[in-house]
């Protein structure tokens, strides 16, 4: 490219440079905004810590998350009498290191949260964009179906569905996304309908751009922030729902460590060995509000329109 035109090539290179600088400026501005919201920043750091722990789990702990020694069962956390430094948060009823299981459990929780949100966004935003842009009978059918799904409480619906299709990771994702897309469908449909009336869309029509191109290249950049914000907020919700299902024995099956089933397993010894159920529960209580706080901070920074008055 640089050989073809002595005048044009530097312009293109300069343009790349300008883009990069623009991106860096935006990133810096975003971080500065985040710095002005210390609580959101804290939430973000907690989420980041969980993600790092989940990704680097094998390097953080040497214990096996699924295999324990019955001779070492129910050892209390290190700060209590009888605790051992080898098991900082103690062990569970099968002698497995609780910290290791919590860290590996974060993998499940975050993976379920991320996959569910991703699939829900793809399905919900895609259908919502088509319904909101073209309207017509497809919009009517999809919207009534979405209303129908909205009528069921989320957890009851997921329980019924899991009972029907059986437990397991893939089924869990299916049960959560089956209703999870509705939230994004409604968001994107509404956003597209309001953006479509703006004149930049007509200008693109006048230039001869096709409808799909207009949806993807013109409108989508204007609504991607709100999708992102709602996605972050919904992720916490999906994680809690997964934990609830696992707690009920309908989600992730033992011995795979999932926070919900860990709480369920520790329930029997709750009065004598509090840590087995309490500490995985604490992990949920730490991660989910952190996600929500971070999501709300994102919303305030990226999309002030969504702010609840």
């Amino acid at each position: 490219m640089s050989v073809t035109s002595p005048t044009g090539a530097p312009a293109i290179a300069g343009r790349r440079q300008a883009r990069l600088e623009l991106w860096q400026r935006n990133a810096r501005r975003f971080l500065a905004e985040l710095g002005r919201q210390p609580i959101a920043l804290l939430g973000g750091l907690v989420v980041l810590a969980f993600i790092l722990a989940a990704v680097f789990a094998p390097y953080i702990t040497a214990h096996d998350p699924e295999l324990g020694s019955l001779r070492q069962r129910l050892i209390p956390p290190v700060w209590q009498q009888g605790g051992a430094a080898e098991f900082p948060l103690g062990t569970d009823g099968q002698g497995r290191d609780l910290l290791t299981r919590i860290i590996y459990g974060a993998r499940i929780s975050l993976l379920v949260g991320f996959l569910t949100v991703a699939i829900s966004i793809i399905a919900g935003a895609g259908l919502g964009a088509v319904a909101g842009y073209y309207r017509g009978w497809l919009d009517t059918v999809l919207s009534r179906f979405a209303d129908l799904l909205m009528a069921f409480p989320f957890l009851i619906f997921a329980i019924a569905m899991m009972a029907f299709i059986g437990p397991g990771f893939a089924n869990l994702i299916l049960a959560l996304t089956f209703k999870g897309w509705v939230e994004f469908y409604r968001l994107v449909r509404g956003d597209i309908m309001s953006e479509k009336t703006r004149e930049y869309v007509e200008a693109a029509r006048a230039l001869g751009r096709s409808h799909p191109t207009i949806i993807v290249a013109e409108i989508l950049p204007n609504i991607v922030q709100s999708i992102f914000v709602v996605g972050t907020l919904r992720m916490g919700f999906f994680i809690v729902t997964e934990a609830s299902l696992s707690f009920l024995g309908l989600g992730i099956q033992p011995p795979t460590p999932a926070w919900g089933s860990m709480v369920a397993a520790g329930r029997d010894v709750m009065l004598t060995h509090w840590w087995v159920a309490t500490l995985p529960g604490l992990a949920i209580v730490l991660l989910v509000p952190a996600l929500n706080i971070f999501g709300e901070g994102l919303r305030d920074i990226l999309d002030p329109r969504l702010k609840v008055q």
Binding site: A11, Y200, L207
Partner: protein, 326 residues
């Protein structure tokens, strides 16, 4: 005054163009109150011709259908009936290469997430300019031409004033190299001091690129300044059409007279007699029978005004639809 070639073929012709918008009644309303689906007759049978190189002003109150007509001509709306000819050919999908539109609102007509380079670059790509370097050079050339600086190329719309945004919108329209430009109230959202600059720019560009304008406005002084010919619309119909000077000096249709009488004039001597129209513009859902203006007309001729739509007649070089001249 008129730049139009004496006997040439028209560039754009509207033939009995209608644009109706359906207003469906609610299901409950249908069941309980027996409501029926309704039609907004925004444009209801409009014909005119525009010759190459001229500027035609389109005036009327808000709600008279002038914006809808502009959008039909810019191929944004499909007409309900009638047809639009471009150089005597019926207009279909690839019309965008010939026609562009400049919008009223410079704030919503530019995509807030795109830089100026993207906005103009897309138009150039649609024109078929594939080479990014050529596109870059052309973008900068267009920016300079509409009075912006090259350093604006990486900026986003919110970084500009209303007048600058309108210039970007003009550059985008020019990028396609159109022959016909629909300017839909391009200056009414701008400060008065900026209006003159943008109007001058539009006039310069017309000379330079041989453009033909349909200039939609409700500001009659702007129309007077710019147009070669004026079309007056009321409730989706053309009331009167004439050369600008002739229309302003000698309005024939009572509605045109009322419109012109509403222009504020500083000099007491020059003031026209004020004509105060009574009532409001009737609803285009349920337009009056006969002449649409008869409910507010101060010079009604007789019962025919209320019964039958007046035929168009040529009087003193004007095309008028009024029973007074039949």
């Amino acid at each position: 005054m008129s730049r139009r070639a004496a006997n040439g073929a028209p560039l754009v012709e509207a033939r009995d163009v209608k644009k109706h918008f359906p207003v469906p009644a609610s299901l409950l309303g249908k069941l309980l109150a027996g409501q029926k689906d309704q039609l907004v007759k925004a444009v209801d049978g409009v014909s005119f011709k525009i010759w190459p190189g001229e500027t035609v002003g389109l005036v009327g109150e808000s709600g008279c259908g002038k914006t809808t007509l502009g959008r039909v001509l810019a191929r944004l709306y499909e007409p309900t009936a009638g047809e639009i000819l471009f150089r005597d050919w019926p207009v279909h999908s690839s019309f965008f290469r010939h026609t562009q539109i400049i919008f009223q609102n410079p704030y919503s007509s530019l995509n807030p997430r795109k830089t100026v380079r993207d906005i103009i670059g897309v138009a150039l790509r649609q024109r078929g300019l594939r080479d990014p370097q050529e596109r870059e050079a052309e973008t900068l050339r267009l920016l300079r031409r509409v009075g912006l600086s090259e350093r604006h190329v990486d900026a986003y719309p919110h970084q500009f004033s209303g007048g600058q945004r309108q210039r970007i919108g003009i550059a985008r329209a020019l990028a396609i190299q159109p022959q016909f430009v629909v300017a839909d109230e391009p200056v009414s959202a701008l400060d008065v001091s900026i209006q003159a600059q943008v109007i001058n720019l539009l006039q310069e560009l017309q000379e330079e690129f041989d453009l033909t304008y349909l200039f939609i406005a409700h500001d009659l002084s702007v129309i007077h300044h710019l147009s070669d010919r004026v079309v007056v619309m009321y409730l989706g119909h053309v009331m009167e059409e004439a050369e600008t000077e002739s229309l302003f000096a000698n309005p024939l249709h009572p509605y045109t007279q009322a419109l012109l009488a509403a222009i504020p004039v500083v000099d007491k001597e020059d003031r026209r007699e004020r004509i105060i129209l009574e009532g409001a513009v009737p609803s285009p859902i349920d337009p009056p029978s006969g002449c649409p203006f008869h409910t507010r007309c101060f010079a009604k001729k007789g019962p025919e005004c209320e019964q039958e739509y007046p035929p168009e007649v040529q009087v003193q070089g004007h095309r008028v639809a009024c029973w007074l001249y039949v």
